[in-house]
Every structure is written in C-alpha cells, then in structure tokens.
C-alpha cells in the first residue's frame, strides 16, 4: 500500500471519529457555499482573482523588486532565502544578534514547510505557537492536520487531556469555552513576555511595500505589537500588484475558508511601530522551479483558504496527517511533488479526480487536472508502486482484448453471485469498508443487444 493509504487506514481505524471528521468538514464546505451564494458576483470575483494572480506570476520578478524597494523605503529589513535552510538561518541570525528570549509565532504554513520550530529547537530555542489549534498540536508534538483548522483531527476530550497535562486545567472538563479561556490566559503571558514575533503573510502589496495578515483570534497582532521585533515570512508568490486588489481577495478568502464574510482581523503592516524592528523574509524553496513547470505553475496562485480540503472526499475521510506534509489536501498534493517528487509520489494518487476542488477554488486553480498530470510525470519517472503498475498493465491487456474482457466479466458476475468469498475477502481492497451491489445476471452489452432485436 502507498504511504497515504497506509496512514489513511490508521486514521480510519476509529470509525466514529472518521465520520465526525468527514461530516464536520462537509459542514464547513456548506457554510462556504452559503457565503459564496450570497454574492451574485462570486464568479466574477473568482475570475478577477485568477486573472490578477496570472498577471502577477507573469511579471513576478518586476513586482518582487517593486515590493522590496517600497518595503525598504518604509523602513523594513528585507531578506531573501533560496530554500528552507536559508530561511531558518536568517531567522536564527536575527534571534542571536538581538539576544532574543521569548518567541511567539502565529500561523504560517511557510514556517511549517521549512520546519522552523524543529530547527530552532535543535539550537536550544523554543518557539511558542499562538494560534489555538497550533498550540494544541504543538503540545502534542504533532504537525497541524489542516492549514486553516490545525487541530480538526482532535476531539475536545483530546484537547482537555492535553491542556490538563500542560496547563493544569481540570481533568475531564471538556467545555470548549473553558479550554479556550485557559489557553487565552496562558498565551497572554507568552505575548507579554516575548521579544520577537513571527507571522506569516497572506498578501504582499508591490505598490506599497506592505503586507496583510488575516486571523480570527488576534494572535498575529498581539504578538507583532507587543514584541520589539516582528519577522514576517512569505513565499514569493504572496505578491499582489496593488492595494485595490485586496478588495477582491479579502472578499474571497474567509468566505472560501470558513464561510465567514471576512476574518475578524485583516491587518495591514507597512512600517515598523515606534521603537520596533520589522523584517520580511522572501522565500523561494522550490517555487521558482514550480513556476518553470508549465503544467503546474498556476498552483502558485493558491491563497491557502483550504476550500479544496473541506470539499475533498478523500481528505475528509483520510485526515490531514495521511498526507505526511505541511500542506495536506488536494493543493498540497500538487505542491509537494515539486518539493520532493520521490517522497511525495503517492499524493497525486490520493484523489478520485472528481474535480470538486477545482470547482470551489477561489483563484480557479485546475487542481484535479494537475493531480492527473502529476500522475503521468510520476509514472514516467518510474516512481509508481510496483503493485499499481502491475495492475494497470494487466487491465490494459484485458481491455485491449474484447473477447477476453467479456468472458472475464461473465466470470466475475458469476463468482460474485455464487462464490462471494472469492472476491469479498481481505485480499481485495475494493471490499474494505464497502458493500458491493448485487451482481447482475447479464452484462449491459448483452442486455442492449436483446433490446435491439425486440
């Protein structure tokens, strides 16, 4: 079995939890639909967002330089990182140069992609994640399982046990309000004691050299305004040309992500605060390679709303950890093979290619088509599992011989009726968690021929 399938099987072992996960994410998808349908101009917004991102990618070097120039004029320190190691080293250097003690970090999938926390921990430096979901998974030494809802794989009992161990909350108190307020108290102390705040970036505006960070909890702002130093980390594809384009993206982002009309805080940073220091780290880490892949470059349009996660029948039933990467879900499955094709060769196959992801994507990325194209690239590179390869070869052989195909069909129908144990057994993965329909006596072809005669 592939890595994804193996990990998914572990997730599926708890059937009740799998069902809860599936239904909860579907509910988030429905909230997204309701929010999207409330705007008659929704499709126009998606079209604009897609065109703005296409245009930006086609002028990216110019916009990056414009952004840098304006940011520097605003008094911001701009750093460039070719890969994850350089990104981490730049941050480490700032920490060392300033004798930083406390570090708080709000959600940034880029820092997850670069494994910043693990890197700094190896240098003896602790980073406190301040998004509630991220703090929960950090206590549990787990990665986030969803880019917007990091702890969606957990139940309140799990959170309660974790907080009891780490924060000394009452054992057995599962009340989300009580647990949230305990975390609020704990993290307030961390915010007030921090010297350095790390945040992600949702949008970086070339025209003004500023950037936008969106949160509901207010954790990015609590960190960035309380600490002396603020470092914002961004993949270089976060650029948009002008501030007016934010009108399009802020209308799409939260509605696509959670069905909210907008996030609670949409914060625009341009200059360091009085007595503060502001740094921006612009990261490539494989993005320029993806930009050069014609079939896959428009995956760089992604605004990380996770609508494709919530709608995906495979993600909902297999959980984020089965994708074994920082960004899971359908979009992760087209981004991660670029980062490491061999390690992530299983991911483009973790899909039914139903196309729902492409239909909900607010920037119109053709996600399911790219999944299918990655499969072809991966097969050409010889990275498909032997069992899958053998199965495909056998199928191709059968399908190329009509008489053989017909007799095998008849045999299969007969055995499903007469000797069900031959097919419905542990060796046949098609029967896992699935009841097959009753096999018909005759094939469609023979039925159709009879109809023609009568």
């Amino acid at each position: 079995m592939s890595k994804h399938a193996t990990l998914a099987a572990q997730f599926n072992a708890d059937e009740a939890r799998t069902d809860w996960h599936d239904q909860t994410l579907w509910w988030v998808r429905q909230k997204r639909d309701k929010a999207a349908h409330s705007l008659p101009e929704w499709e126009q917004l998606r079209q604009w967002a897609s065109e703005i991102k296409n245009h930006t990618l086609s002028h990216l070097d110019t916009y990056l330089q414009q952004f840098e120039e304006n940011a520097i004029a605003n008094g911001v320190n701009v750093h460039w990182a070719a890969d994850a190691a350089e990104h981490n080293a730049i941050i480490h250097q700032i920490i060392k140069a300033n004798g930083v003690q406390g570090i708080v970090k709000s959600k940034s999938m880029l820092t997850e992609e670069c494994h910043l926390n693990e890197y700094l921990l190896k240098q003896g430096i602790e980073v406190v994640d301040t998004d509630l979901g991220e703090r929960i998974v950090q206590f549990r030494k787990e990665p986030p399982s969803h880019i917007v809802l990091p702890a969606i794989h957990l139940k309140k009992q799990d959170v309660s046990d974790t907080f009891h161990d780490h924060l000394g909350t009452e054992k057995g108190n599962y009340d989300p309000q009580y647990l949230t307020h305990s975390a609020r108290k704990h993290l307030r102390e961390k915010f007030l004691a921090a010297d350095l705040a790390i945040t992600g970036v949702n949008f970086a505006i070339a025209e003004t050299g500023g950037f936008v960070v969106c949160t509901n909890e207010g954790n990015a702002d609590m960190g960035a305004h309380a600490a002396k130093i603020h470092i914002a980390c961004m993949g270089f594809e976060k650029i948009i040309p002008r501030a007016e384009h934010l009108g399009v993206f802020t209308r799409l982002l939260a509605r696509s992500a959670t069905g909210q009309p907008i996030t609670t805080y949409t914060s625009h940073f341009h200059k360091p605060g009085p007595g503060q220091e502001l740094h921006i780290v612009i990261v490539d880490n494989g993005r320029s390679r993806q930009l050069g892949r014609e079939d896959f470059r428009n995956s760089l349009k992604c605004i990380r709303c996770a609508a494709c996660f919530n709608t995906c029948p495979v993600y909902r039933r297999s959980g984020g950890h089965s994708y074994h990467t920082a960004v899971a879900g359908p979009i992760g499955s087209i981004l991660n093979p670029n980062l490491d094709m061999k390690a992530n060769a299983d991911l483009p196959f973790a899909s039914t290619l139903c196309g729902s992801c492409s239909n909900v994507c607010p920037v119109k990325i053709n996600i399911h088509e790219q999944l299918w194209k990655w499969r072809q690239v991966i097969a050409k590179e010889g990275l498909v599992e032997p069992s899958k390869k053998a199965g495909m070869k056998f199928m191709a052989w059968v399908l190329s011989k009509p008489a053989l195909y017909r007799s095998m069909g008849a045999l299969a129908r007969w055995s499903m009726r007469k000797l069900p144990f031959l097919v419905n057994n542990q060796l046949n993965p098609w029967y896992k968690q699935r009841e097959m329909p009753k096999a018909p006596r005759e094939s469609f072809q023979s039925w159709y021929k009879k109809q023609q005669r009568s």
């Binding site: 065109e51 609020r184 307030r188 207010g218 702002d221 305004h225 009108g247 625009h268």
Partner: protein, 206 residues
C-alpha cells in the same frame, strides 16, 4: 542584506539575484490585469447600508448602538459605563482624549478602549481603524472590550469601495476589524474571546 549566517555564506551568496533570475527565466508569457470596474452599488440607500452593516456586526458577534446627537452619546455612556478597570478613550465625541500608558502590564488590565473607525463595510461588518486613531498599535487587541465609533455616512457597500476610501499605507499600520476575537479550533465550537477583545461594541453616530 547583512543578516546572514556565516556558516551558510558560501552556499547562499546573493540569493536575491539568483531568485530573481530564476523567476525571470521561469515566468509565463505576460497576461493583462483585469479591469476592476465594479458597479458601485449606488442602488443601496445609506439607511440600507447602515442596516446591513448593523446585521453583519451582530452576525460576527458584536453589539451595535445607533446614536443621534450628543445627548444620545451621554445617555449611552451613563448606561453602559464599565463598573471598574482601566478605560482609555481616543474619541473626541466620547470625552477628553486619554494618554496611552507605555507599560504592557498596565495595558493588560485595560478593560475598555474607545477608538475611532474610519470606514464601515456593509457586506461584512468590518471597520477600518488606523494607527493614528489607536494611540498605540496594541490597544484594539489587548483591551477586554473594544468600542469602535463610526459615522453613519462612512459606511460603504463592499470591500472594493472600502479600499477606494482608505489609504492602506496612510499610517504604518491599519486593520479591518469585524467582531470580537474568536476561535473554533476545538471541535468547531465557536468561542468568543480568543486572544483579542472578548466583546466588540460599535457606536454608529448619525
């Protein structure tokens, strides 16, 4: 830039120009920007915009008071005065402007802050607040209750009009605020009061 780890120096000489070169080489053929001529919904009257704005503020967990005239403001302040704790006022119509304390531990006890909002957005209840109105950037986030004061005529239909009406870089920092801070990270149960204020009140002045 000078912030570079000496051990990584050799491998990463001049990442900036190497990244920009790689991007220039890999970028697709030029495509145009769309024309964002948005039909400014002037079919909505100002009272309709105020009403939509009010519904959205309530929908995202805030309270709304529409106040007409200085008397209404006085009545509101009397009725809704906090019983104890530190209060900071930054809005002229509310009263004398307070100086903002420097110490974070003092600000951590901030019960209520009154701050001027510049633009309200009818489609989502968001309010634009910039640094000049805050006194200190952390004020609207660290207080327990945030009171934003906005003029009825400054409510616009959508984010498009909002971005037209503001200058995003007019101050070093600015933020759209929609409701009190919130999270649903535990089993998707909505909890009001994550890291920022546990309550948001919006005063619409007519």
């Amino acid at each position: 830039m000078n912030n570079r780890n000496s051990t990584t120096d050799k491998k990463y000489t001049n990442s900036r120009s190497r990244i920009l070169e790689a991007v220039a080489k890999s970028k697709p053929a030029a495509t145009p920007l769309p024309d964002l001529r948005f039909a400014l919904s002037d079919n909505e009257t100002q009272p309709e915009l105020v009403s939509s704005f009010e519904q959205f503020v309530q929908g995202v967990g805030g309270r709304v008071f529409q106040l007409e005239g200085a008397g209404a403001i006085r009545d509101y302040l009397q009725k809704e005065a906090p019983t104890d704790g530190l209060v900071i006022n930054r809005v002229e119509e509310i009263g004398p402007i307070d100086e903002v304390p420097e110490s974070l531990s003092t600000l951590d006890t901030l019960q209520r802050a009154y701050i001027r909002g510049k633009i309200g957005v009818a489609e989502n209840g968001a309010i634009w607040v910039d640094e000049t109105a805050m006194g200190k950037r952390i004020i609207p986030f660290i207080c327990q209750e945030l009171v934003l004061v906005i003029n009825a005529e400054d409510i616009v239909p959508t984010m498009h009009q909002a971005y037209n009406a503001i200058q995003v870089n007019g101050a070093g920092f600015g933020v759209f605020i929609a409701g009190p801070s919130k999270t649903a990270d535990i089993e998707q149960s909505l909890v009001i009061g994550a890291h920022g204020p546990v309550a948001l009140t919006v005063l619409i002045l007519k």
